[in-house]
């Protein structure tokens, strides 16, 4: 099957899943077991939307979280691009570095969110730094771990043509690793949303995580669900944009 039709099918499937889930939700909580305290009915969800917009100040908070996520992705990738030669050389000097995540495997992911909150309290810049550092770490690690898979034949060919070490890194190793790095970027996009929301929940910064925290304090489960549905569409759209960028600019396979 053609690669682009595979991607389209993937998104069709994701979109259909969300819509199906909503349909099942409506059927169960609107018609089969309405008025249960377990989950609110669909009508209640719709009626709570204006309150999400006004009382929870959705727009401004959405703007902050959205900016943190996508600015982190953009700047993280930019830094990776500018420092690609240094990062690849770092791998050649310390190849054991790529085993480091094995040590951190059982380390709770939210620990760093707590640590940042402890250091910077509700500082907005700290939230940006948190997202940015997460992306830089993830992409740098992804770049370093894809270096060993560069075919020796590519490097030998470049060597026989008199290319320098830096030219081989920039024109061969970086380019060959790019599809894997971009795949990691796509995959970690969802994870980035989650860790930024967790950070905002813990640090109580002015983002969507704070809406979750307030809604939970007010027992406002309708807003929690509204937000979940809105975010799933936003994340899906973000993933579609990233896939389109990959298809356009990183069209080859490692």
């Amino acid at each position: 099957m053609h690669k682009s039709s595979c991607i389209n099918n993937k998104f069709k499937f994701a979109f259909t899943s969300v819509v199906s889930f909503l349909f099942i939700y409506v059927m169960i909580f609107e018609f089969i077991i309405p008025g249960t305290s377990f989950l609110p009915s669909f009508t209640t969800l719709v009626y709570s939307l204006p309150s999400l917009w006004k009382e929870y100040d959705f727009f401004n908070r959405f703007l902050l979280t959205y900016t943190v996520v996508y600015l982190s992705l953009f700047l993280g990738f930019l830094v990776l691009y500018l420092k690609r030669i240094f990062i690849i050389k770092f791998y050649y000097v310390f190849p054991e570095f790529i085993n480091l995540p094995n040590l951190l495997k059982y380390f709770p992911a939210f620990f760093f969110a707590i640590l940042f909150t402890y250091w910077f309290q509700q500082n907005i810049l700290a939230e940006y730094a948190y997202g940015f550092l997460y992306v830089v770490w993830l992409l740098s690690y992804s770049l370093m771990s894809s270096v060993p898979s560069v075919p020796q034949e590519f490097i030998d060919s470049a060597k026989t043509m008199g290319k320098t070490y830096n030219e081989i890194i920039a024109q061969i190793i970086w380019k060959h690793s790019l599809p894997k790095v971009f795949k990691r970027l796509e995959d970690s996009h969802y994870l980035l949303w989650v860790i930024v929301l967790i950070y905002e929940f813990i640090a109580e910064t002015n983002g969507l995580g704070l809406i979750y925290k307030k809604a939970l304090n007010y027992n406002d489960i309708s807003v929690v669900l509204d937000l979940a549905v809105i975010l799933s569409f936003v994340m899906l759209f973000g993933k579609m944009v990233l896939s389109a960028i990959k298809k356009r600019f990183v069209f080859w396979e490692s």
């Binding site: 030998d156 061969i172 380019k175």
Partner: protein, 256 residues
């Protein structure tokens, strides 16, 4: 020795390559390899798999060092290596791949190379997912753009189907005759070596050592029909017999 070194050849003298295995024991991969590569010939090195062909070709290409012996030459030679996996870069177009070797190439020179490798009209194609033959042609074009003294081929036809192999054999031979660029071919395929080469070195394994050489008497201007000729068959049989005597017959390839 002095008379062996002139501007028309590279003289490889007593090259050895050793390495340590996982238990720390010294293993001899290449032992006292001596051969000469002439600029008016295609030279092949036929050897079974695992005999150190790639290591030897890397040493000749100048991207690996021997542990003993050396290469003697009259002036510095520029040798371009085309490895087993044809290394056309899948993120570059055909033209960008060729320009990788020589960024300033353009116009007539570029078109001449594209025509020679049979890729005129494919300038903006990208080799991602293209056939091994297409990628070999790009590698060849890139090597030609670099103005090499020798082009070193390390089993580049290994993963090709028969039709593609035949096309690439003829293309390689034609380029040698048209451009006077000598090739050095490492292979385990006797038919390939006899068709393409003017001089054939026979190398055994464990350790890799030259056991004999053959001056190919086939006409310079040959085509694929010559593979079925009796002269071709005689050369092939004599090579097979030599390998049989040295017990290095296994893992050689006898088909196209």
């Amino acid at each position: 020795m002095g008379e062996l070194i002139n501007e028309n050849r590279i003289y490889i003298k007593d090259i050895s390559k050793e390495y340590k295995d996982e238990f720390g024991f010294k293993v001899s991969l290449l032992k006292n390899i001596t051969l000469s590569l002439e600029i008016d010939k295609v030279t092949s090195i036929i050897a079974p798999e695992g005999s150190g062909k790639t290591s030897l070709l890397k040493i000749i290409a100048g991207i690996d060092n021997p542990t003993g012996g050396g290469i003697n030459y009259h002036h510095h030679f520029k040798n371009i290596c085309i490895p087993t996996i044809s290394s056309s870069f899948p993120w570059m177009t055909v033209v960008e791949n060729i320009k990788f070797a020589r960024p300033d190439i353009s116009g007539e020179n570029l078109n001449a190379i594209l025509e020679l490798i049979g890729l005129d009209g494919y300038e903006n194609h990208i080799p991602n997912n293209k056939s091994t033959g297409f990628r070999y042609r790009i590698s060849l074009g890139r090597a030609l753009a670099a103005n090499p003294d020798f082009i070193i081929l390390d089993e580049p036809f290994l993963n090709m189907d028969i039709e593609t192999k035949e096309e690439c054999y003829q293309l390689t031979r034609d380029i040698f005759l048209q451009k006077n660029i000598p090739f050095v071919l490492g292979t385990n395929n006797i038919t390939e070596a006899v068709f393409l080469s003017d001089k054939i070195y026979l190398m055994k394994k464990n350790p890799g050592e030259i056991i004999d050489f053959v001056d190919n008497t086939l006409p310079k201007n040959r085509n694929l029909n010559s593979i079925t000729s009796s002269q071709f068959n005689e050369i092939r049989v004599s090579i097979e017999e030599t390998f049989k005597m040295k017990e290095s017959y296994k893992s050689l390839n006898f088909s196209i």
